[in-house]
């Protein structure tokens, strides 16, 4: 394990560029429900959200996972691969919340022509409260090493 990959300009502790969805709501939640056949009342109906103890309907955990994958893909590019992702859905993505997906490098390992990075990842709301914290492992192809 190394602290820095100078060829790629990566260091442990670096934050990766964010992925932001502003004012998330039914237009985001319902599109995901439509492709995943995930029509669950708490994700579509405020009354169902209230009955479950929340102030409104809220986005699916799976959509939060998708946002975490999006932030990783944007960073590693088409040639990179996501090897693993884990997250917990601690707080709901309530309606009208701006969701920011973020990541911070926790370790770097150079393997042949790839740099393997482990990251702390999470989604947070507009006030910085973490909604879905987790971890990820990605491999970045370093064309200069091939």
């Amino acid at each position: 394990m190394i602290q820095q990959d100078t060829m790629l300009g990566l260091s442990v502790g670096d934050e990766i560029p964010t992925f932001v969805r502003e004012n998330t709501g039914l237009h985001h939640f319902n599109r995901y429900a439509a492709v995943n056949d995930e029509f669950v009342p708490i994700h579509m109906d405020d009354d169902a959200g209230h009955k479950a103890g929340y102030p409104s309907a809220f986005g699916t955990g799976n959509l939060s996972t998708a946002y975490l994958l999006n932030v990783l893909r944007s960073w590693i590019g088409e040639e990179g691969t996501v090897r693993a992702l884990a997250c917990q859905f601690r707080q709901p993505n309530l309606k009208d919340t701006t969701v920011v997906a973020r990541g911070r490098i926790t370790s770097i390992l150079v393997e042949d022509d790839e740099t393997v990075a482990e990251l702390e990842v999470w989604t947070e709301d507009g006030e910085g409260n973490r909604l879905a914290p987790g971890t990820a492992t990605v491999a970045i192809v370093d064309l200069a090493r091939i």
Binding site: V35, A52, G61, T65, A66, N70, R83, A84, L85, F89
Partner: protein, 171 residues
């Protein structure tokens, strides 16, 4: 803990196979629609919708986002019977053929995925799901039941696509 939601029947089912399903061949536009939904309102990466561009990448063609679900809507079993609700609070035990716990609400608690080969147009994916564990703890809404399932996805060439451990929380 004064009460438990885990019955002897549930405890005995840990490790059992819950479900084995196969997908129809993945369609290019299923991938496109998935990518549009998860990137909305931004356009998704070309790798997920532009076959000509995708052919120039290391993959040599379109691939699906890692979280793409080829079992959404329909599997090779055909449409789900009317009234079957896979999101109900008793769906785990229904698939095991045992009595469900007395819970009213269910939430997705989290997920852990290890990814193998990418899913591509034309792939036929099989998922085998097992009951990994039941645990419970006291939460702000009472006793919370944590159920972890583990699904192993393979493609038509028996290559590992991913292993997913899903935690559901019921109360």
């Amino acid at each position: 803990m004064a009460t438990t939601l885990i019955s002897d029947q549930m405890r005995a089912a840990v490790g059992a196979e819950m479900e084995r399903v196969s997908s129809f061949p993945i369609g290019e536009s299923d991938i496109r629609k998935w990518a549009l939904a998860v990137y909305y309102p931004d356009p998704p990466p070309r790798l997920f919708w532009d076959a000509e561009h995708a052919a120039t990448t290391r993959y040599g063609g379109m691939v699906a986002p890692e979280d793409f679900n080829p079992f959404a809507w329909l599997t090779t079993r055909g449409p789900r019977p009317a009234g079957e609700d896979m999101a109900s609070t008793s769906s785990h035990e229904a698939r095991l053929g045992i009595a469900p716990p007395p819970v009213r609400f269910g939430l997705n608690g989290g997920t852990e995925s290890e990814f193998g080969v990418r899913m591509r147009p034309g792939d036929e994916i099989t998922s085998v799901t097992r009951l990994h564990s039941y645990t419970e703890r006291e939460g702000r809404l009472g006793v919370m039941l944590f159920t972890i399932t583990e699904s192993t996805w393979t493609n038509q060439s028996d290559e590992l696509v991913k292993v997913v451990r899903q935690t559901s929380i019921r109360y």
